[in-house]
């Protein structure tokens, strides 16, 4: 289906040379390298449909990042261009004669790890999508046909171009949040399971026919799990085949779900601009890390059994925690006040909660902006988790 450019104005295109498209050329990619400078905004579009190339080179050329767009009508030509010049992004059709898009993606991913890739196809096929992601594609999308789809596609491409570095955002849609990722899947009315990992945490979002039907992270399911996953700012994702047998626990529209989750995040951000922790942490500490405002943790279960996260000098803090807790416990015994429930503190650097239960001592470092009342609330929640462990 021909697509008209309704969003951005025309751009000069370098036409491909059909003579370069040798059908028997081997899929061997040489040279090239990660883009830098102006090449960080250079896009290569590969499609055997010249009309598509003309249209999308105009559309993408008018993106806010003003990329330089090159085109190729066959894989061999595309690979030669990749070999000769550094590109930031490769957009490739999947179904092409001779060398198809999957082969190109595999080769490009292997040879140019920094190259972002978008697989684009006219067929909405689950197997295609799974294969595209398995081939290392950063984004799989059907060819947009409506103005809103074209605009969304342009935004995704622009995001891939403007966001550099492997540590920001989700692999595949750098600078784009999970909101964009889920919107793309739902707008395409896809079915699949979005598996998202962040450090040792793993979450899953089930999408069926363009609707978010369930989510799961650790022991939590449904909307609550979705909100937790939604708060992750970085991570990796992969799309697994759909699971039509998954019971539906989320019944609202995906738009309202995204809106509610975004509002929840905003409310959280108003109190604390720290992101939800999860990476570089043992499983033992993870329940405590989910308590609002927690920035650092130290769990001392005895000699040689000290787990910490976000604590620069854990040995010293473990000793301080032990001394403070035993000091106040001794004081409690002297005063006959009953058991010590918690020691809580606010400070200019950090708030602190100290707890002791069943021979284990916990220190939690909290956001310094938290008031004494919030520190106490956090302490009560932490004590509940410590009691469960």
């Amino acid at each position: 289906m021909p697509v008209t450019a309704q969003v951005w104005s025309p751009f000069e295109v370098t036409p491909p040379n059909p003579a370069d498209c040798a059908p028997s050329a081997p899929l061997e990619i040489q040279g090239g390298g990660p883009p830098s400078g102006p090449s960080s905004r250079r896009i290569l579009i590969l499609d055997d449909d010249q009309e598509f190339l003309d249209t999308y080179s105009r559309i993408l050329g008018r993106l806010p990042s003003r990329p330089e767009v090159r085109v190729a009508t066959c894989a061999t030509r595309a690979l030669a261009l990749l070999d000769a010049e550094p590109f930031a992004l490769l957009i490739t059709d999947l179904r092409m004669p001779k060398i198809d898009g999957f082969q190109v993606l595999l080769g490009a991913r292997q040879r140019f790890p920094a190259l972002r890739t978008v697989a684009i196809t006219g067929l909405g096929d689950q197997q295609y999508r799974a294969r595209a992601y398995a081939s290392g594609s950063d984004l799989y999308t059907e060819k947009p046909t409506t103005p809103s789809e074209i605009r969304l596609f342009g935004e995704c491409v622009d995001a891939l171009l403007t966001q550099a570095g492997p540590d920001g955002g989700f692999r595949g849609i750098h600078s784009k949040s999970l909101m964009d990722l889920i919107q793309i899947e739902c707008l395409s009315q896809n079915s699949g399971v979005l598996r998202i990992t962040r450090g040792s945490l793993e979450g899953r979002v089930w999408i069926e026919g363009g609707n978010v039907i369930d989510a799961e992270v650790q022991d939590t399911c449904g909307e609550e799990a979705f909100r937790q996953i939604f708060g992750w700012k970085t991570g990796h994702f992969e799309i697994l085949p759909g699971d039509p047998t998954r019971p539906r626990t989320i019944f609202g529209s995906y738009e309202s779900l995204l809106l509610d989750s975004a509002q929840t995040l905003d409310e959280f951000a108003a109190d604390s601009d720290e992101e939800i922790p999860g990476e570089g942490m043992s499983r033992l500490l993870q329940p405590f890390a989910r308590v609002k405002g927690v920035e650092a943790l130290l769990l001392n279960a005895g000699p040689g059994q000290c787990e910490s996260w976000g604590v620069e000098n854990p040995e010293q803090f473990a000793e301080w925690t032990h001394n403070v807790l035993t000091g106040f416990q001794a004081l409690g015994a002297l005063l006959e006040t009953g058991p010590l429930r918690a020691v809580e503190a606010t400070g200019s650097v950090r708030g602190v909660v100290l707890l002791a239960q069943n021979g284990r001592e916990l220190m939690a470092g909290l956001d310094r902006k938290m008031t004494a009342r919030l520190v106490r609330a956090a302490g009560m929640e932490l004590a509940t988790h410590l009691g469960k462990e």
């Binding site: 001394n323 004081l331 002297l334 006040t337 429930r341 020691v343 606010t346 400070g347 950090r350 602190v352």
Partner: protein, 92 residues
């Protein structure tokens, strides 16, 4: 019939009030009843100053610290090495 006598239970009643302790651990001023033993105030002061001082030494200065017991809350505010300490019985 043997007479059953019960030992009278005298629950510990904590006063409500505050006192100030210097960085040396000396009680400077107190609003607690005179019956409240000085050595208990000093013991509270030592525990508080020790916790605040060690935290400061670790680069995590604390402005306010609370020890939450089943029957009593001790809340202390740092005063440049000393502390003002509030004693509040827990209410149920």
């Amino acid at each position: 019939m043997k007479r059953i006598s019960k030992k009278a239970i005298n629950p510990v009643r904590f006063p409500r009030g505050s006192f100030t302790v210097s960085s040396a651990g000396t009680i400077v001023v107190s609003t607690l009843p005179g019956a409240f033993p000085m050595e208990r105030m000093e013991a509270i002061g030592r525990a508080v100053l020790s916790a605040l001082g060690a935290a400061r030494g670790l680069g995590t200065p604390l402005t306010e610290l609370a020890a939450d017991f089943a029957g009593l809350e001790i809340r202390a505010r740092d005063l440049s090495g000393g502390a003002i300490i509030f004693i509040t019985p827990q209410e149920y």
